[in-house]
Symmetry: C2
Subunit: 333 residues, 2 copies
Amino acid sequence: MVIDPPYLIFLGDVPDALAAKSGIGIVDWRPEWCIGQLRLEGCQADAGIPDLSIDEAKARGVKTMVVGAVNAGGVLPDHWIQPIVAALDAGLDVATGLHIRLASVPEIAEAAQRSGSKLHDVRFSDQKFATGKGSKRSGKRLLTVGTDCSVGKKYTVLALEKEMRERGMDADFRATGQTGVFISGRGVAIDAVAADFISGAVEWVSPAADASHWDLIEGQGSLFHPSFAGVSLGLLHGAQADAFIVCHEPTRTTMRGVSHALPSIREVIDMTIALGSRTNPDIRCTGIAVNTQKLAEDEARALLKQLAAEHGLPATDPIRFGVSELVDALRSI
Amino acid sequence: MVIDPPYLIFLGDVPDALAAKSGIGIVDWRPEWCIGQLRLEGCQADAGIPDLSIDEAKARGVKTMVVGAVNAGGVLPDHWIQPIVAALDAGLDVATGLHIRLASVPEIAEAAQRSGSKLHDVRFSDQKFATGKGSKRSGKRLLTVGTDCSVGKKYTVLALEKEMRERGMDADFRATGQTGVFISGRGVAIDAVAADFISGAVEWVSPAADASHWDLIEGQGSLFHPSFAGVSLGLLHGAQADAFIVCHEPTRTTMRGVSHALPSIREVIDMTIALGSRTNPDIRCTGIAVNTQKLAEDEARALLKQLAAEHGLPATDPIRFGVSELVDALRSI
């Protein structure tokens, strides 16, 4: 899936910033692609970029309107159809991560037909993948893995990409989730791929590259999550990671959506090596990334120091304290 | 997916028995459901049941024509369309495991519309599943796991079902692959489910049951297969197996479709327990099932004796020597 930037970020009339998380994430990581936002009356979210009409966006070179907000249930509210149709009629493509296909709404399908604009349903995968082959590809690969879902796997690889590029390293973020696909402009929402093709889709997302090139692959779920571990394992096998970073949220008591306890960071490291060595015998853990948002700064620093000592690895909060040490640790690979 | 028996097995004009493996498997395990076979001119496969025309099948009470053969590439040859249309026009449902949807062929879609008959595309999953919850369900569950794909996982649980029912035990085969769905009349081809819902689909396939009831769940792939391990892990988590049996083919040198070596039976046991204990801490290995088809009988017996001694577990070839010991081993659970 390839989505053409620059973007107009559609935020609808959602009641808070959380419902606009995807759109705000795109603005955070690809500000140069986000020309403006389109908000309907009553919208309580603000991505901090100019409010533009569709015509203004078009005049400034926008190629795609990205629906960067979700309302309750992930469905498309009726009153969002008109602005989507207007964007299509203006010649913009439209991309969403909704649970329904845009083309299943007759007015939208007709508008896309009229204008020849593209509809991107990131949550659906129409692409045919090969099954994973597991044979070694050239280039270097890093994967983020987690003690749970939603612990900062995407933000960690995005922070790494930024730092590595600033240092002149050849590195690309590789998206495996819907917000990641918007941020990258390409990729696959791996959780929507048919189960047989998980690792094959990851091989497609991260193809052979120059020997010194780094693919920074967005992880999903956790090998220990009873709902999603299959996705995580297919992703690990397809990624053939040379390096992985364990992501963790220290205040969580049960895994997201279920009543199971979180695994320890040590368990995640050991299991990731045990399973990942199947497609890359040299896989190793190179760091720990902790989302310390809910901790005071001194608590956060103390925790990171303790984890670093316990595991003999750099430990940081990528957003709060940067990823300098995590990048340093990749030098020897 | 629920498919109504009895069946007429359609074998087309395939060149050999291998191409009719699915149809022959249904006849092997559900002879009482298989009223007859429909073969086109030149068919080199024979399931050993009466050749019937569609009208004869209808007259004998057949409800569904199952396409039990595949031609090269899994596509639908043009000259198979006419008999499928005829079956629909006679009021039979039609079920296939082809790579295309029956309804994508206009003549077939129209015939189904005309007669009100059902089209079952076992390889496609239109059903909505919940994500796996991982919370313990009542009833007992056995899962077959493998050192590779295609090592007898389906046949082992089918042989167990037969033996257990003969002993008066309450046991049901639970299908997770397309031939299994035809044999069971229900189930899910788990490899076609969207990756996020693998374990949830298995929870649906094997719902809560009486405390003494056994679900015998068909395994898929291998935790060590670089193409399909994600499917195997989601299946393991969803199955919450109390008992598992390792299936193995001793003459294979590399895993199916890739160049990776097979894991040892010990590695499979250890990894299945390590991962499976996430949703059932009491998971244990209760036996080894070996497909000894390519070995002479004395070689086969010697190998099974050696494996039994090495692992302290019953080891048998379910087809050649029966599954009596494997069922005995379940008594203590």
